[in-house]
């Protein structure tokens, strides 16, 4: 169905961001901008969420909302991700009201970049055009880098520069992949590529070209996501960014990982190669192993969270890479969304700890449970969900994912392969469980060596979003069908 709603979803954050930018361009509006910046961001986030929610009834009925000229499309394959991204952005905007303490960017410019970031996320999810995807990837690079540099500490500029170099180079790999696909076929729309026999025949003639394109996409988007071995920027950027930016950027992988899937899937259908699967599964499993093992040895909770994120990205990619299994997309997207909800809850809870104590060193923290009970509760619920404990949504996501991977490896490698992979995945979850619970014990129950004085719980606008996320994880654990209905 031809509909302008996908374009509206893109324009709402873009236009409201531009309005925020205008408020700080004129000196007479500067005072107004300072006073209203946080409320303006919250209103913009609400409008963006509303613009996405309008599409839900149509998509839930199986309608496809599209603008073929722009290569934009909303349907059951991306609506759940759109809702999750906008809802998380809205919750972090509530958190931002009390947690934002200012930085290098003026409030209006800061809001502009945040809303541009949301626009990029929507663009990546809605766009089916190769060049459109490249433009959004390049824009994400510039915006994310400047948001990391917003933190007025020394560490942020060094981390932002490292992030810029890695991700700007990776965007060039995306461009090489896009051009390598477009030049021989003349088709830039991924949906047209799936239905254009002539273009498919041209690509099928040259399987090595397809492998080259896929490798470019994995290198390009893998570096933006933070997958091993392109993850170098992630453990530096998290401690260097403000706690709010960490909250906002934790929503990024939903769009980026699904974009990688969207790019790979049509090429796999043209040339179903085991090498392609091996490449993606290899990157996914290496990220899982590396992330969980590195997270185990961290003393700084932001760095631990960074490696835990790498582990979770690896899980999501691993499940989505089981392309021959028809359920892999549903399971992968369910895993991706629930793990992002849990990770956002975790990073906001850890942000609250940092807000009150000014330290992220777990060895110096302890005994915070009495004064920060709500934060402790939300952290433990989110951490248990990430570790896959029942009855939380993480358990269902992991159970669904493991059964699909067992079936896939049973068909393709027999019983020993299937059982080995399932055991490996279980061991990785166990490691995650150990380091997340150990962090909880150290931060909230351990001995407070440095006698850090905490006045009390963080303001309600900071703990409320984390509690909402925890409740969402419980609801999705008990009733996963609520989310599954939205994933085609």
């Amino acid at each position: 169905m031809y509909s302008l709603l996908p374009l509206l979803a893109l324009l709402v954050p873009l236009c409201s961001g531009t309005l925020c930018l205008l408020t700080c361009l004129f000196s007479f509006l500067e005072e107004f901008s300072k006073k209203t910046a946080k409320i303006l961001l919250l209103i913009s986030a609400t409008l963006s969420l509303a613009s996405v929610l309008i599409m839900v009834p149509y998509c839930a009925l199986g309608e496809v909302l599209e603008i073929p000229e722009f290569g934009l499309r909303a349907d059951l394959s991306n609506i759940a991700a759109l809702v999750a991204t906008s809802a998380l952005f809205f919750l972090v905007s509530i958190y931002n009201v009390r947690a934002e303490r200012g930085g290098r960017l003026k409030p209006g410019i800061y809001n502009f970049f945040l809303l541009l970031f949301l626009c990029c996320m929507f663009g990546l999810l809605l766009s089916y055009d190769l060049f459109g995807i490249f433009l959004f990837v390049e824009l994400v690079v510039g915006v994310s880098v400047i948001l990391v540099a917003h933190n007025p500490i020394k560490l942020s500029t060094e981390a932002a520069f490292k992030y810029l170099v890695i991700t700007a180079l990776s965007a060039l790999f995306v461009l090489i992949g896009v051009l390598s696909a477009f030049i021989p076929t003349g088709v830039s729309n991924l949906l047209s590529l799936a239905s254009n026999w002539e273009a498919q025949a041209k690509l099928a003639e040259n399987p090595t070209l397809i492998m080259f394109i896929i490798a470019c996409f994995i290198i390009g988007l893998g570096a933006d996501i933070g997958l091993v071995p392109f993850h170098g920027w992630l453990p530096d950027c998290l401690p260097a960014s403000t706690i709010i930016i960490n909250g906002f950027t934790s929503t990024e992988p939903i769009a980026l990982i699904l974009t990688l899937y969207k790019l790979v899937r049509p090429f796999y259908e043209i040339y179903p190669s085991n090498a392609m699967l091996a490449l993606m599964l290899g990157v996914g499993s290496t990220s899982m192993l590396f992330g969980s093992l590195m997270a185990y040895s961290q003393k700084d909770f932001f760095r631990m969270f960074a490696y835990c994120s790498i582990d979770e990205y690896g899980h999501s990619l691993f499940i989505l890479s089981l392309l021959p299994q028809p359920e892999s997309f549903v399971a992968g997207q369910f895993y991706l969304i629930t793990s992002t909800l849990a990770k956002t809850g975790m990073i906001l809870s850890l942000g609250s700890v940092y807000y009150n104590t000014e330290t992220s060193d777990m060895d110096s923290l302890g005994n915070l449970v009495k004064k920060m009970g709500k934060t402790a509760l939300s952290y433990i619920i989110c951490a248990l969900s990430v570790a896959g404990m029942p009855p939380l949504s993480g358990f269902y996501a992991k159970f669904f994912a493991y059964s699909i991977s067992y079936n896939f490896f049973y068909i393709h490698g027999g019983f020993p392969a299937a059982i080995s992979i399932t055991l490996l995945l279980t061991c990785i979850s166990l490691v995650s469980f150990i380091f997340l619970i150990r962090a909880f014990q150290k931060i909230f129950f351990g001995r407070n060596i440095r006698n850090i004085d905490v006045n009390g719980e963080v303001p309600a606008l900071m703990w409320l979003p984390t509690i909402i996320l925890s409740v969402a994880l419980v609801i999705l654990g008990v009733r996963p069908d609520v989310l599954l209905k939205l994933i085609g």
């Binding site: 433009l135 824009l139 020394k154 500029t157 090489i176 030049i183 021989p184 830039s188 090595t208």
Partner: protein
């Protein structure tokens, strides 16, 4: 490939190589500008001839877009980086070639060359004849990025790598090129802003010194 295009691409590759070994930041930026001029000139002259011969709106649009592409790569981006030098410092250094840097360089370049080797160029003959030159310039730019400590030179290297892909970009839809250019300028401006901010924090634009000062 036309002889003129071949000569200019060879010249652009030579300029990129000179840029890799230039000592001062300013000189590296000048080489960036020269590389962009060399790469864009053939396409620009082509469009100018088409405009003069054809005298139609389509040729005019193509000419303007190609000119914008050429101008942004040859003037706007180098000027942004030059502004960065005026706000910070002009570092004199030489490429540092160590085992770690060579591994970084090789790991970035090897997949591309393996890809090119496996590519079976006959399938793309004609359309991607400039590919070997693009790959050479891209590799040299990666070499520049991986062997320097000066953050502005690293940004120059990133832009040289982007410029190296311009002959391939000519094959993309013409309406998209202005957006791609705007984004490339945006990313360069953000990079320069970060370097200037880092200079305020650390008093140097050397990446190694930033790490040392953090410790």
């Amino acid at each position: 490939m036309e002889l003129m295009a071949l000569i200019t691409l060879a010249a652009a590759s030579l300029i990129t190589a000179l840029g890799c070994f230039a000592r001062s930041t300013r000189r590296t930026i000048i080489f960036l500008s020269m590389q962009a001029i060399a790469i864009g000139t053939v396409e620009l002259v082509h469009c100018l001839i088409n405009l003069i011969v054809g005298l139609n709106i389509e040729a005019l649009v193509y000419f303007f877009i190609t000119f914008a592409e050429w101008f942004s790569a040859a003037a706007v981006i180098p000027l942004i980086l030059y502004w960065g030098v005026t706000k910070t410092e002009n570092i004199l250094d030489e490429p540092i070639i160590g085992i770690r840097r060579l591994i970084l360089f090789a790991s970035l370049i090897t997949p591309l060359y393996v890809g090119l080797w496996l590519f079976q160029p006959p399938a793309l003959q004609g359309k991607m004849a400039s590919l070997p030159f693009c790959m050479l310039m891209f590799s040299l730019s990666i070499f520049l990025i991986s062997t320097r400590n000066d953050s502005l030179k690293i940004l120059v290297g990133l832009n040289m790598a982007e410029n190296a892909l311009y002959p391939l970009l000519a094959e993309s839809p013409i309406t998209l090129i202005p957006f791609i250019l705007a984004l490339m300028i945006f990313v360069t401006a953000m990079g320069t802003y970060i370097v200037v901010e880092a200079y305020r924090d650390y008093g140097t634009i050397s990446v190694n010194r930033w790490r040392w000062l953090n410790k």
